[in-house]
């Protein structure tokens, strides 16, 4: 059965600076993803992986090209519309967990949904509990981030990325700060969630072991996709 396309990028470019100091970070990027896909974005440092994820995550605007997701032309929407789109359809996992230190694990997981709704609801709490169960932290739901290990924090961050049932989770070096065992655990988790919940994942990584566990490899070199 053909899976529905969720994302389509054509001729995407990103430039920083102007004139002689202008740097072309992304050059003519064309990319498509379908629902339920788990892709690894590989490339050396400076190849533009993080910039591409940032643009796909609507946190930054591209300099040129087209970017459509779920039928929305994300190149031509307002800041407020991009924020709303991001909260409904995208999840993020960063290299550093970036959990809010004043909130418990459960509250951190609920945070994106609560930001969108304006308050915390019982169904939100139930969903966050389920996600913490799924990442193996059901008995740590009331712990503050400071009381969790690095691997546990990143698992909470994965659960947080999934609270709004995103179509696509963008993960920027999600295991970069973890030891091998914790990295494997987090990767297993994302794989399981991908299979069970159907969320697509685009994972930026240097690690070939991580890439090997994804269905697809997208290789970036000097701002261009060299293999997809």
């Amino acid at each position: 059965m053909t899976k529905a396309p969720i994302l389509s990028v054509t001729g995407l470019t990103k430039d920083f600076g102007e004139g002689e100091t202008q740097t072309h970070v992304l050059k003519d990027i064309s990319l498509a993803m379908v629902e339920g896909e788990m892709a690894a974005l590989l490339g050396p440092s400076g190849s533009g992986k993080s910039t591409l994820l940032t643009i796909l995550g609507t946190l930054m605007r591209a300099s040129g090209g087209t970017y459509d997701m779920l039928g929305v032309d994300l190149m031509h929407v307002s800041e407020a519309q991009r924020t709303e789109f991001r909260s409904k359809n995208l999840g993020f996992v960063f290299q550093f967990h970036h959990l809010l230190p004043d909130l418990s694990a459960l509250e951190n997981v609920m945070m994106p949904a609560a930001c969108a709704a304006g308050w915390e609801t019982a169904p939100m709490r139930d969903r966050a509990s389920e996600l913490l169960d799924a990442v193996g932290l059901s008995d740590h739901r009331d712990f503050r981030p400071a009381a969790l290990s690095g691997g546990q924090r990143q698992r909470v961050a994965v659960a947080r990325a999934l609270i709004n049932n995103p179509v696509l989770v963008l993960a920027d070096e999600p295991t970069g700060n973890l030891d091998r065992e914790s990295a494997d655990h987090v990767m297993d988790l994302m794989r399981t969630i991908n299979q069970k919940m159907g969320s697509s994942f685009l994972i930026s990584t240097h690690d070939e072991r991580i890439a090997a566990r994804c269905q697809r490899r997208i290789e970036l070199l000097d701002g261009r996709i060299v293999r997809s």
Binding site: T54, L59, R86, S87, F92, H98, C115, G118, E120
Partner: protein, 401 residues
């Protein structure tokens, strides 16, 4: 303002309790200064007003001036006006006016008086005095003579007088002694000193003598009228308006105490302005303190704000969190400050009971609610710019994505 913004604002406040407590203590101190200054300036004004108007009439009704009307209005004409001195300065028909005056709103006491100049003679010593003849029961209506008696009693039989303590000292007079008083109408009579008073006003204690109304009528040869009608009103600051009303209703010349005490009012006004400046400075201090603290907090939480924005938090949500946080600091700090000021001012005596050298602080004029309201509004305004700065934080830069 969403419930989630309220929750996060409170969570921020409780995440660093020491820092929050310090900040609120700073606000509380500013509010305490505000309230203290309000109570002190207000109390000082009350004390000065009390001391000034406590023993004087607030309004004096007298016969209107009778300058002759100028009928010639030629530019080249020279006109000489001669005052009509053929008649006594008196209110001839005064009794029908008393009920009218008493029914006037704000009037609390009315005292018709017969007044005149006289000399007190004792041996070779002669001293000029002002004689005040008051009706029975009206002695302490204007100046509280009953409370000011330091020797003898305040009763006024037909041959009795009350004299000021300075006059008594200057002439060596004591209660029970007899003195001769000669009025400016040339009538003389002997009086027994029934009491000595001290009002604390040098001119009154040196030159005033109180006597029976009927006796004064005879001494000053005033068969029917009265010299003046003295009135007390509440509040004393309304005297000018009430005087104007009485002028219209009685056709008498009405002079409010405020006309003769412009310097006091100017002094009180300058004092109030000084207080306002000090209060404004304390509010500015609060604004600067809260704005600085909020900016520091936002710099410290830059990554958190960035991650919230990345996860879909709107700029409005970020602004509301930080404006609410600043407002809560202001509100709670202001309540703490107001409570501390209230407790600190509680043991102080009322202004009317302040002894010489004491601080005349009037807790009632502390502007507690105004201080809380202004501080809360100031704190809210102080938080707006830092909050807007927070909302403009670029999530990509903040989280280093």
């Amino acid at each position: 303002m969403t419930p989630y913004a309220v929750k996060l604002a409170f969570r921020h406040l409780f995440s660093h309790p020491g820092q929050t407590a310090l900040l609120m203590a700073g606000v509380a101190l500013g509010v305490s200064v505000f309230i203290f200054m309000s109570a002190l300036i207000g109390g000082l004004a009350t004390l000065l007003t009390l001391r000034t108007v406590g023993s004087i009439p607030h309004i004096v009704l007298e016969r209107p001036d009778r300058d002759p009307t100028v009928l010639v209005n030629h530019p080249g004409a020279q006109v000489v006006l001669q005052k009509d001195l053929s008649r006594r300065d008196q209110i001839a028909i005064w009794q029908p006016m008393i009920p009218i005056i008493e029914k006037t709103a704000g009037v609390i006491a009315v005292s018709p008086q017969i007044r005149g100049s006289a000399f007190v003679v004792r041996g070779q010593a002669v001293s000029p005095v002002g004689v005040i003849g008051t009706m029975a029961g009206k002695l302490s209506e204007i100046a509280n003579i009953d409370a000011a008696i330091i020797a003898g009693s305040a009763s006024l039989p037909a041959d009795g007088i009350l004299i000021g303590s300075v006059l008594a000292r200057d002439l060596g007079l004591r209660v029970g002694q007899v003195v001769q008083i000669t009025s400016d109408r040339g009538r003389s009579r002997s009086f027994r000193i029934g009491g000595v008073f001290t009002l604390g006003i040098a001119s009154a204690d040196r030159q005033s003598i109180y006597m029976n109304f009927t006796t004064a009528r005879a001494l000053f040869d005033l068969s029917t009228g009265v010299s003046r009608i003295e009135i007390k009103v509440r509040p004393a600051t309304d005297a000018a308006g009430i005087a104007e009303h009485l002028r219209l209703s009685t056709s008498l010349k009405a002079t409010a105490w405020t006309e003769d005490n412009q310097q006091l009012f100017e002094g009180l006004d300058a004092q109030a302005r000084t207080g306002t400046i000090i209060k404004a400075f304390s509010l500015v201090t609060i604004i600067v303190g809260i704005a600085s603290a909020m900016l520091l907090s936002i710099v410290r939480r830059q990554a958190e704000i960035g991650i919230m924005r990345a996860m879909g938090a709107s700029r409005g949500l970020v602004i509301s969190i930080y404006v609410l946080e600043g407002t809560l600091i202001g509100l709670i700090g202001a309540i703490m400050g107001a409570l501390a000021a209230w407790l600190a001012l509680l043991p102080l005596p009322p202004v009317s009971a302040v002894k010489s050298g004491g601080l005349p602080i009037d807790r009632q004029q502390g502007d507690f609610l105004l201080a809380i309201a202004l501080t809360t509004i100031a704190a809210m305004l102080a938080s707006v710019l830092p909050a807007r700065h927070a909302a403009r934080i670029d999530p990509v830069e903040a989280i280093g994505a």
